[in-house]
């Protein structure tokens, strides 16, 4: 993405409508086989700009880490929400994601008056909000939230990695890489795996048994 000028219209539109504390909401970790889905809510100062804040998927890990620090320092508010694997299994990934987003908003130390939410579904909170498909490419605040969500989730996967190093969560962040799937075949699943998620090459085998621990 080029210049941030293209990422401000949504925030400006909300300000024109009278809103002052606009929170961008995004998530990380919908697709992996293991670990939580993590959401973040970020409120940036009015007319804030940063040339490097962009959708987290377009940044290198190093850029994300650096921008995470910048955002934490300069934002008016940062909140995170976590929906863990058992929760994902019991309520499906979409509901779990919305729940995590709600937690992220509630975790903010200052209360927003407007939400810009990445995706198609509104969060079940009674706050004015706008959903944005590809929000992390269209809104600076949502892009900032995507960075916080990703870095926060990476850190949680590091903690998981120390408990169960055999899956190499440090490298794969719970995603279904070949190495990860091979480890599941060898060791079974652990408490951080989403049992409701089908694993290619394992769950399609007849007579498969979950060794789980």
């Amino acid at each position: 993405m080029g210049k941030n000028r293209t990422m401000e219209p949504l925030e400006r539109e909300a300000r024109v409508a009278g809103y002052r504390l606009i929170a961008g909401i995004d998530e990380a970790g919908r697709g992996p086989l293991a670990g939580p889905v993590v959401a973040a809510a970020v409120i940036l100062p009015p007319d804030y700009d940063h040339p490097l804040i962009d959708d987290s998927k377009r940044l290198t890990a190093r850029q994300r880490e650096a921008l995470y620090e910048v955002i934490q320092r300069e934002a008016l508010g940062v909140g995170v929400g976590v929906s863990e694997a058992p929760l994902i299994d019991s309520m499906n990934i979409l509901q779990a994601t919305l729940r995590a987003m709600g937690e992220a908003v509630l975790a903010l130390r200052i209360r927003p008056d407007y939400l810009l939410v990445d995706g198609l579904q509104k969060i079940p909170l009674s706050l004015p909000q706008k959903t944005l498909v590809g929000g992390d490419r269209r809104s600076l605040t949502v892009a900032a939230a995507s960075i916080v969500a990703k870095v926060s989730r990476d850190r949680i996967m590091e903690i998981c990695h120390r408990q169960f190093p055999q899956y190499n969560f440090l490298r794969n962040k719970g995603y279904g890489t070949l190495e990860h799937r091979q480890a599941i075949v060898k060791y079974g699943r652990c408490k951080f795996h989403r049992r409701s998620f089908r694993v290619v090459g394992i769950d399609d085998l007849p007579g498969n048994r979950d060794l789980g621990f």
């Binding site: 976590v82 863990e84 926060s152 949680i156 120390r162």
Partner: protein, 123 residues
Amino acid sequence: MSMAGIRTGKRGEELAAACLRDAGYRILDRNYRCLFGEIDIVAEEGESLVFVEVKSRRSDAYGSPQLAVGRQKQKKISRVCIHYLSEKRLHSRQVRFDVVAIRMTPAGDRAELIRNAFEFSLA
């Protein structure tokens, strides 16, 4: 909770803090509270950030303090830990969960420190 219970708890936390300091921990926060719960003591030991649950009992009530932290409580503490890391921007630290069990008897008080009493339980 009765007034006696509250006093036991407060005194227990003081004893626990002293126990941790004696063991070389550096205390960072006490009674950290957020919307999702609270943590009795947050401390540093070496490279690790330690979240400590304090369990106090008077000896004449209900036997010795339960050393085990129940599953729900583990999840709750794990969740508060994530919010603490986010708020204090300490994400890159190694985390650990300890318990200090305090037993108060007429003959004196005893503190027992259990390192790594449980593991992070929310993911």
